[in-house]
């Protein structure tokens, strides 16, 4: 009898071990597998499954005196906080107006291969007449990129190429919450429900290794 009980316990533990990657939620929180997949597609994919974000959850922002910018940026508040400064931060986001009529807004940012965002620059066109949702949508959309949203959605929401209907959907909120709940450079591959087929690792320990081009 004792032997049977022991075998039973062993089997239970083995099953528990085997299923530890198959549960649908994160043991540390309420993020679903879909949330991790979305985070992978729009952030971690560009660093072999490691997340890219600011080091701190309080991000320095220089608004460049753009009218109403603080309230537009604050739409992302929650998982991140903003510290508004009156200088261009070397480790934060800076906004400025551009007379360019070609684009509503443009975001540039740099990050290292450990996943730490270094600096971001956002240029907002002075003419928002033809921009869907106007200045508010443009500033909030660009701030989404400056916080680590890589690429664009096609679901009619704020992170569509044209800013969509301007809504920050639950999926986008979950994205930011999940991204800023873990440190930069967190490997999220263990949480994904699909096998990754990377022909070459782009991550470099010391930055000396050659980056191989990977086509998805």
């Amino acid at each position: 009898m004792k032997t049977i009980v022991k075998i039973g316990w062993t089997l239970c533990l083995i099953l528990g071990l085997c299923s530890c990657h198959l549960d649908s939620t994160d043991s540390a929180g309420d993020a679903s597998r879909e949330d991790y997949r979305f985070l992978y597609d729009y952030n971690a994919k560009e660093l072999d499954g490691y997340t890219i974000r600011w080091e701190s959850n309080t991000v320095k922002v220089y608004t460049g005196n753009i009218s109403g910018a603080e309230s537009f940026i604050n739409r992302w508040q929650g998982p991140v906080n903003f510290q508004y400064v009156n200088y261009i931060p070397s480790d934060g986001v800076s906004f400025s107006y551009t007379p360019s009529m070609q684009y509503c807004g443009v975001t540039y940012y740099t990050y290292n291969n450990a996943g730490r965002m270094i600096q971001a620059r956002v240029e907002i066109s002075t003419n928002q007449f033809f921009c869907k949702g106007g200045l508010e949508n443009t500033v909030t959309h660009e701030m989404g990129h400056a916080l680590g949203f890589l690429g664009h959605t096609s679901d009619g929401s704020l992170m569509d190429p044209d800013g969509g209907n301007g809504n920050i959907t639950t999926r986008l909120r979950n994205f930011m919450s999940l991204l800023y709940r873990m440190p930069y450079g967190t490997n999220i591959k263990p949480y994904l429900s699909f096998a990754l087929h990377s022909p070459a690792e782009r991550y470099q320990k010391d930055g000396q290794q050659i980056i191989e081009r990977v086509i998805y």
Binding site: G185, Y203, I211
Partner: protein, 144 residues
């Protein structure tokens, strides 16, 4: 004997079960990336090539396209407080379209510094490589 066998079976399983969700933190790296959002990727590529040409930076295509380029060698000034007369930069620039309006530029540089006794020494510190990589990308950052 039996308790020993049980312990041998149970303990490794327990340890593995407890550690199976551990997240890994990456060490510091030297490569630098620049993401440009909301300008057509094709345009960014053209502008980067134009800036390289106008800056007389030697480059060759590694893939027959303009997606992966071998850059340099070319000489620049040292970043403060590096004690070198001049710096030689050489590296690999990858330009990737994430989507039609998002571009990623990745640079990995090999840096050498000219010492006061006229010797070229390789600079390998990841933070230095990152600083020079950052400067490189800032220089060639296309404007709208």
């Amino acid at each position: 004997m039996k308790p020993v066998i049980c312990a041998l079976i149970f303990f490794p399983i327990l340890i593995l079960a407890c550690s199976c969700k551990e997240v890994q933190k990456k060490p510091m790296a030297g490569g630098v990336n620049l993401i440009i959002h909301d300008i057509p990727c094709s345009e960014v590529k053209k502008k980067v090539i134009h800036k390289l040409e106008s800056g007389k930076i030697p480059f060759t295509s590694l893939d027959g396209d303009t997606s992966t380029l071998a850059i340099g060698p070319f000489h620049t000034s040292p970043l403060s407080p590096d004690p070198y007369g001049k710096i030689e930069e050489e590296g690999r620039l990858e330009i990737k379209c994430i989507d039609p309006l998002s571009t990623k530029l990745s640079i990995v540089l090999k840096i050498k510094g000219l010492t006061s006794d006229n010797r070229w020494v390789e600079i390998e510190a990841p933070d230095k490589l990152q600083a020079y990589g950052e400067r490189f990308l800032q220089k060639f950052m296309p404007n709208p």
